[in-house]
């Protein structure tokens, strides 16, 4: 309270010097202690959360958002369990990625190190406070959090529980700090703290991410939206296609790796689209397509140009027909958001063409786009899915929260 951003930044730098070389065992113990602290202090957390919920209701917050804000004993248990799982993951720090000897005898290697100080800007889910701390800390990073105004009491209570656990383990409390001044001005100054903050990761809706990209001078990892496509090729197994599309569209509707748009080879549209429409009608999915698709299936409503670029996050799917794989790739590269794209095919050459030609974080052959996820990829955790191309692309686990440095062993070499 009352701490300036500069004080927060200086404290973060001091903690960074401790975390940089902290052994894995001590990090894991602190994560276990943090999990314990959340459970032990659940009454304090619930009381703090009750204040936020009361204020939210007084401000007529929509009930879905109130639910996102709500802490329960169960949800506190999940936060604690999340920290324990992170303790069980491999520590990426310290791995030497390569070590080569140069002709002059210098040995030059690249070693994985923490990024340093990570800034997280997020909205009203208090569980992000514990999750983000756990992931950043395990990778040796200090975290500065700027959560939403609505969750301020909950976030502060969670932070205090975590700080207490750190202190009890002989570690700097400032490995996690929260910016309690939730004004936009302070958020914008936070985004410009070059020299104190090494990277900003915004977690939230498209508006938040746009603002951070627009205002930040600190490097940003953009975790973005997903206008994901499935292309059904001429040779596709149509049973497989129907089930993959059904899964990718309806298994969970509001997520970035859900399928939003179908691209269909014109030679299979008559065989595919009526069956697919029947299957999707089980979940009342609305189909919006081009003329070619509507000729094949009368249930399809007309699509407008705008549909091709829309991430519905809803029971709606757009349908575009194409004359072949080149047109499919061009269409997808034009309208996608660089997230996840799939082809359903039996053709070897087309599978390769699609994998190489599509510009996206994850490109699938014969599988649902819903697998783009740190847990499904086997990382054990995830801080977000990067849809940009710098540093990290796709699901980001612990490894993506690290940097590298060159280490060079010499015995007196000078440059001639």
């Amino acid at each position: 309270m009352g701490m300036t951003l500069e004080e927060i930044g200086q404290r973060a730098k001091a903690a960074e010097n401790v975390l940089r070389t902290l052994p894995t065992g001590r990090k894991n113990k602190a994560l276990e202690a943090a999990a314990e602290a959340l459970l032990a202090q659940k009454d304090m957390l619930l009381a703090a959360n009750a204040k936020d919920i009361e204020a939210a209701k007084a401000n007529q917050m929509a009930s879905g958002l109130v639910d996102r804000l709500l802490l329960t004993e169960d949800r506190i248990g999940q936060m604690a369990e999340g920290l324990r799982q992170i303790a069980g993951l491999d520590d990426p720090v310290g791995e030497v990625l390569s070590m080569r000897q140069r002709p002059n005898g210098l040995q030059i290697g690249q070693k994985r190190v923490p990024l340093g100080v990570i800034g997280i800007i997020y909205e009203s889910r208090p569980n992000v406070t514990a999750d983000a701390f756990g992931l950043c800390f395990k990778a040796g990073n200090v975290v500065i959090l700027r959560g939403g105004r609505d969750a301020i009491h909950s976030n502060q209570a969670i932070m205090e529980a975590l700080q207490g656990a750190l202190e009890a383990c002989g570690l700097p409390r400032d490995a996690i700090q929260l910016i309690t001044d939730t004004s936009h001005e302070t958020a914008e100054r936070f985004m410009r703290m070059n020299g104190y903050v090494d990277v900003l990761i915004p977690r939230g809706g498209a508006g938040l991410i746009r603002t951070v990209v627009e205002k930040a001078t600190v490097p940003v990892i953009e975790t973005g939206t997903g206008n994901c496509h499935i292309y059904v090729d001429e040779t596709a197994d149509l049973d497989m296609a129907v089930e993959i599309i059904f899964n990718a569209k309806t298994q969970r509707i509001g997520v970035c790796n859900a399928c939003e748009s179908l691209v269909v080879h014109e030679k299979v549209k008559d065989a595919l689209l009526p069956r697919l429409a029947a299957r999707l009608s089980q979940k009342a999915v609305e189909l919006r397509g081009d003329e070619g698709s509507r000729e094949a299936c009368s249930d399809i409503l007309p699509a407008s140009e705008e549909d091709w670029g829309t991430e519905y996050l809803d029971y709606i799917l757009s349908v575009k027909t194409v004359a072949g794989i080149d047109e499919a790739i061009a269409h997808i590269n034009r309208y996608n958001t660089g997230h996840s794209e799939a082809i359903i095919t039996r053709d070897y050459a087309n599978s390769r063409k699609f994998l190489d030609g599509i510009d996206a974080a994850a490109v699938y052959v014969n599988a649902s786009t819903r697998f783009t996820d740190g847990y499904e990829f086997g990382f054990g955790a995830e801080i977000g899915i990067s849809t940009q191309k710098l540093h990290a692309r796709g699901p980001m686990g612990l490894k993506e929260l690290t940097s590298v440095k060159y280490i060079i062993y010499g015995d007196g070499q000078v440059r001639p």
Copy 2:
């Protein structure tokens, strides 16, 4: 001429779709053809350069800067040779970094792909035009260049020669484009071309880099300044220390990996500093030190606080005495710019402590900081040295001009 930034961006995206999957052999042929074109059109290049030189002299440009701007037959030969060398390097694109099988049978791999469209903002060295094209192109990227106003005729002539070579090889001319409107307004709009440009790499002085970091919304790779330190530990071989410091300070003075500051254990200052001062006096290096250092050597002038943070790029070296390695690490981490730092020691534990504790792109034991360089590291080429922690840290070769994407092979998997 007269093309808007949007047109340039659209042409870049169209060329990107061709370069994304261009085989290495065709890229190498185009680079050889580009080298040929520079040599074949040298009269045209020299004539264009003469216009820039004439204007520079009319504007009273300092002679050092005029020299940087000057093209000669020799320098054109070097540019051509540079492109040929790049043709000879391994292509990083297409490498699969890992491929694992998940319990559900999905095979998930990470493949190296081009970044896409790279923007380079640079000052008055026309050779950057050919160099930057060569490196970006070999890694499958389209490049949009914004060079300095002073070199506009030279840059345009070089670009036209390169575009002609691309066209003769059946490749899109727009793989290299130059922004010919050199106004600041256009440069600033270029820095905000998200959706068209994937990354900006500024090449030039500290002022240029600061401006780009400040104004850009496109991700930036910061190539920065080097306030590099050498720490002489209690157990150092002092002969080795003197020769390494002499090399790192004087072998080349105006470069970012030159040593700017010496940190000396107080127990060796009396033995080291007078000898070192004598050796450095051969190159008339001015020493500025703290009290402890001046007690050991009367040739050392007093340093001010400002000296610790200064990258002199000159025959000046600051000298700080410390009581031990922890103080040395703390001092270096406070004042360094994250570039290159070295320890001279015979002590095993201190060598490890220094390698782990120092926060910099390159950390050396018993070698000169002057080795931080893409050629010396064995990359065969270099587009700059990153002093930030995201995406690339230290010398950046072809690999650092790529991104990755996940490729996933399935046989019908859906998410339960």
